[in-house]
């Protein structure tokens, strides 16, 4: 009988509380029984993306300080989690970022300037999501997670092999929407990996005030899916674990929750006051575990890259930063009439009237 069979679902393997680590903080390889580091080319690519990401974070933070961006939520310190997760995606896969995931987006291929449209205040979302297979940056926490479930469900229905990576913060896991998305993904068995960047803080609220769980990855148990803990400052480990989870998911073995333990080194945004809630010693502790230093050490130790290549990475990063700077120096002409287009498929008469009125107002000024 069905109702008895249901009870025989196996308990998925519990996530180990010890995060998967493949490279230690001194850049030495670390053995792991289940995961192996990606090959040299990928390791180099991870590092290159982090170098660009770090520079992008710096540049955007500077622009925010200068008032050229309305706001910028920096992910300095979290580059490994973002880059490691995104580079594990296949070409056809989608990314569902939050506001803190500009580096992930840039790595995923979104035009760096367009990732900043939201923060510059020109428009809400600056790019065509279909073009980049990247959903709009999401501000209402945890709300885009169910979109990823729906999108991958639709793709499967249309016979396409599309998986999705959802990026969310530790704080976002407290929202009901996170729960509903995990559950829908599990019940519908859609290929989604939920990558929780546990950066220890939700603005000023420490993670132990969000959850009493052994780890956030343990939430997976309650949905009958797999959970993984990974050292979020080890790009190789994040890549290996997310790649594995994506492969499992697309093979039909279910979605997964991956918790990447990392740290937000910068303030929440440029208008935050972290001295009010956290000890500078904590920042220092984590700065010693910087994801870039670590991977660079490995790459140098093992001669995967040399000074020349590292310089090229730096130059690539500078070019991205320069392009962003240039574009932000100017002022785009924003047409107020654009407020009325794209509210509906066609502009309804009532809005047409408002458009005319606004045009008249502006003529009068």
């Amino acid at each position: 009988m069905k109702h008895t069979d249901e009870r025989s679902r196996p308990v998925p393997p519990l996530p180990s509380q010890e995060p998967v680590r493949l490279v230690d903080r001194h850049g030495r390889r670390h053995e792991h029984s289940s995961f192996t580091a990606p090959d040299h080319a990928v390791l180099a690519e991870l590092h290159r993306a982090m170098v660009i990401g770090r520079r992008f974070n710096q540049q955007a933070s500077t622009l925010a300080r200068q008032g050229r961006l309305a706001v910028y939520p920096s992910s300095k310190g979290q580059e490994a989690a973002q880059v490691g997760g995104v580079l594990a995606l296949s070409e056809q896969d989608w990314l569902f970022p939050s506001y803190r995931d500009s580096v992930a987006m840039v790595t995923h291929g979104v035009d760096p300037v367009k990732t900043l449209t939201l923060f510059r205040g020109d428009w809400h979302s600056g790019y065509n999501p279909h073009h980049y297979r990247c959903a709009p940056q999401c501000t209402p926490l945890a709300t885009n997670a169910s979109h990823a479930v729906g999108l991958t469900y639709a793709a499967r229905r249309k016979g396409r092999d599309v998986a999705a990576l959802v990026l969310m913060g530790d704080g976002a896991t407290s929202e009901g929407d996170a729960h509903e998305a995990y559950n829908f993904a599990a019940v519908w068995n859609t290929p989604v990996v939920f990558l929780i960047q546990n950066n220890h803080w939700a603005i000023s609220v420490p993670v132990h005030r969000q959850s009493a769980a052994p780890t956030l990855a343990h939430k997976a148990v309650g949905y009958g899916i797999r959970g993984y803990n990974v050292d979020g400052n080890d790009a190789a480990a994040v890549h290996a674990v997310v790649a594995h989870a994506l492969a499992e998911a697309r093979a039909g073995h279910g979605p997964a929750i991956v918790e990447a333990l990392t740290y937000r080194v910068d303030p929440h945004t440029n208008s935050d006051a972290p001295q009010r809630y956290r000890d500078p010693a904590e920042v220092a502790y984590w700065s010693e575990r910087d994801p870039l230093t670590r991977l660079e050490a490995l790459l140098r130790n093992e001669q995967i890259v040399d000074d020349g290549l590292l310089e090229i990475y730096e130059r690539d990063a500078e070019r991205v930063a320069g392009r962003v700077r240039e574009r932000m120096a100017g002022q785009d002409r924003l047409d107020p009439a654009s407020l009325f287009t794209d509210v509906y498929a066609t502009v309804p008469p009532s809005l047409e009237r408002q458009r005319r009125e606004l045009a008249e107002e502006l003529r009068e000024v």
């Binding site: 428009w123 809400h124 979302s125 790019y127 065509n128 999501p129 279909h130 073009h131 959903a135 709009p136 209402p140 709300t143 885009n144 997670a145 169910s146 979109h147 990823a148 479930v149 729906g150 999108l151 991958t152 469900y153 639709a154 793709a155 229905r157 249309k158 599309v162 009901g176 929407d177 509903e180 998305a181 559950n183 829908f184 019940v187 654009s338 287009t341 794209d342 509210v343 509906y344 498929a345 309804p348 008469p349 009532s350 809005l351």
Partner: protein, 327 residues
């Protein structure tokens, strides 16, 4: 009107493979109102199926499906049980096209059985249209007749905008017969359901039938009431209503929701703006009391019935008198 809605879903499923119908109990049970009766068995459970019990998740996944080219039609089991999805509806569904400058269109239909009059216990009789009509980016429609139920649901499913499709649940069993398929006027346009010269009764959804009854009774007393059925509440094309009120000079809006801050306020304010110099009296609103929806045994006092409408009609005639005497 339940049968007409069922047929509309059926025909949409048959015509367009991207249409899917899901929600709570819409599968084998056919929905608690049986609007999705037999769809799961006739089209297979790939096309019509039960989802986990979580409204925010239902709307959220529908958004994701629509991002990838599907046309999901989801059901909220009762009006008040759509509130858990409010954030998804307001912050994503309504805004996605605008946020992305048209790159993402979300052809999602949210079907919501709404309103009272069926003896439902608390939370089963809310009229929530005002929450949605105040949210730019949503189309909010509600049929007043079985023919419109069919035609407007087909149109809603074919529409590239997200549509909140409010089904007046106490009209599910309406016996009005109708030949299907049928195509009525585009949903964006209001229609005059009954012509009249003395006063305009403005109604929508469940109150259309009530307004027509009231008009009949008023006619018996020599007052010719015009009844306008609004159909699409937002965006609102006020042309039909404005033309009518300019002719009759008097208007009453009727809805089930509490009057305070209700959709009738918008209609009254707008009609007044457009027709001020034609009005013989203020536009009146007849609607629910400004109290939580009452328990079944008291709901008759809340719902705007024929008597309350006729009282407003009378009052307006008295008011017009006043204008003639003092104006």
């Amino acid at each position: 009107m339940g049968a007409a809605l069922n047929q509309a879903l059926r025909d949409a499923l048959a015509e367009d493979p991207d249409v899917v119908v899901y929600g709570e109990d819409v599968g084998p049970l056919g929905g608690v109102f049986r609007v999705t009766d037999d769809l799961a068995s006739d089209f297979g459970e790939e096309r019509c199926f039960d989802s986990p019990l979580a409204e925010s998740g239902i709307v959220g996944t529908a958004i994701g499906m629509a991002m990838y080219g599907m046309r999901p039609v989801v059901e909220m089991q009762f009006d008040a049980f759509a509130y858990p999805a409010f954030e998804q509806v307001v912050s994503h569904l309504a805004k996605m096209r605008n946020r992305t400058r048209g790159a993402l269109t979300l052809p999602v239909v949210i079907r919501i059985p709404y309103g009272g009059g069926i003896g439902g216990v608390e939370h089963h009789s809310d009229s929530s249209e005002a929450y949605y009509t105040h949210t730019p980016g949503l189309r909010v429609v509600t049929p007043g007749t079985p023919a419109d139920a069919y035609s407007m649901l087909r149109e809603a499913i074919a529409c590239d905008d997200p549509v909140v499709f409010l089904e007046p649940k106490r009209r599910y069993w309406s016996r009005q017969s109708v030949e299907l398929p049928v195509r009525t006027r585009p949903m964006a346009r209001s229609v005059v359901r009954r012509p009249g010269t003395d006063l305009t009764l403005i109604a929508y959804g469940p109150t259309v039938e009530t307004a027509l009854e009231a008009a009949e009774q008023a006619a018996a007393e020599g007052c010719e009431v015009e009844v306008v059925d609004l159909r699409q509440l937002a965006p609102f094309d006020d042309a039909t209503v404005t033309a009518s009120v300019r002719r009759t000079g008097r208007a009453v809006v009727v809805h089930e929701a509490s009057v305070f801050g209700g959709y009738g306020a918008e209609v009254a304010a707008r009609v007044t703006e457009q027709c001020f110099h034609y009005l013989e009296a203020p536009v009146l609103r007849v609607g629910g009391l400004d109290v939580p929806y009452p328990p079944p045994k008291l709901e008759e006092h809340h719902l705007p019935g024929v008597d309350r409408i006729l009282a407003a009609v009378d009052r307006l005639q008295w008011e017009s008198q006043w204008t003639e005497d003092h104006g």
